[in-house]
Amino acid sequence: MDEKTRLVDENGIRLDGRKPDELREIEMKVGVLKQADGSAYVKWGKNIALASVYGPRECHPQWQRDSRKAVLRCTYNMAPFSVDDRKRPGPDRRSYEISKVTTEALESVVLVENYPNTAIDVFIEILQADAGTRCVGLTAASIALADAGIPMKDIVAACASGKADGEIILDLFKDEDNKGEADLPIAIVPRTGEIALMQLDGDLTREEFEKAFDMAVAGGLKVNEIQKETLLKEYKKE
């Protein structure tokens, strides 16, 4: 793409054929790993994420223990082969930040008081990345927690919207994200519509922000429908 290739054409159609408020194709499965207490696989456009949950289990190191509640620890990690230019293995500053906001989003729903002194560990592995990975990871982590039987107030769903070529669009893929003018990932508690995660990068007016926000919330609710379907699937087929 050298010349100013348009990300959204005059009919409002994007480079991958989607309409401005259309989600990429999403596929989800739970119970995909043997060792973990709960697990989930999410394929979202070209993103592939795997989430595993261990817990409640003994909390090590001991100094992290909390006698009032379980300690929830989420780690987001990208595999070196998940991106175009190989990523050096190990956590970088971006993954520390994503791990933190992911943990906080899930803390808003997990009933940690039920399991004092223990740890609930969530591991998110991004196996293939094409923009929006923190939303994919959090969406997977949510259903992995449900798969592990960890009591929660709701199933958190995440989705991002943004701005490209002056248009507010939903669920940006990599090319749009690279050349876009704003990126707004959010996570909702579907039952109440409250926001458990929100970040913004960009240059938006108040009106543009509100439009992008509403679009992301609507996207999150659609993602939640798929999450619920996935959790019920293995028990409904009889």
Binding site: K100, V101, S108, A196, Q199, G202
Partner: protein, 259 residues
Amino acid sequence: MKMEIEEYLKKDYITNLINANKRTDGRAFDEYRNLEVIKGYVNDKAEGSALVKLGETQVLVGVKMDVGEPYPDRPNEGIMATNSELRPGASPNFELGPPRAESIELSRVVDRGIRESGAIKTDELFIEEDKVWVVFIDIHILDHLGNLIDAAGIAAISALLDARMPKYEDGEVIRGEWGGKLPVGRVPIPCTVAKIGNSIISDPSVDEEYAADARLTIATTDKLNAMQKGGSGTFTKDEIMNAVDLAFKNGDNIRKIVE
């Protein structure tokens, strides 16, 4: 960070006050503490610097510049990098060691506001092929009495506004001598609110932060450039739009002090 008994008790005390529409220092819910910005605090070595006192919180930001290679996809643009140190002397809860998640989050949120608003005119930092200026923004937390993000963000943009370009001659940076000012355009200001119960309060003090369920930082210029929600509570849409309005209002007031 484990809460000690004292902080446990403080949390209830603060929450009760807030529910009765009061704050410990008598401020209104949308009011900032006293803000003092001292530019050029350590400019014998740093290219630019600013000490910010926001209430009793103190943050010092230093700007250093060096020559480096540009990113391959932006060969004609300079680079910026932001880092923060939560120095152990600033709080009993800070320890020596590699940056923890809070420190990383702090630097990335401050960075976001500056980067996304284009505050540093990176296209004017091109020297020659494969050589551009790299701007290092280093946040040094000196005393943590609450709302480090705003204090650090205000100090960062102030230090950038204060910064001078190092002298560059015959392919070398001449330390101790400077040329013109660092080219700065828009002036982003981060404004953080905390949610305690159902109340939204601006510029939380350290005790109010303990009592808070969640916080929301919004960096503005004439538009919205960065946002970060933190903490394990949640926000409704109305609370978010209210925080947006507060960010524009308080941001404009703070910008007058900074510019």
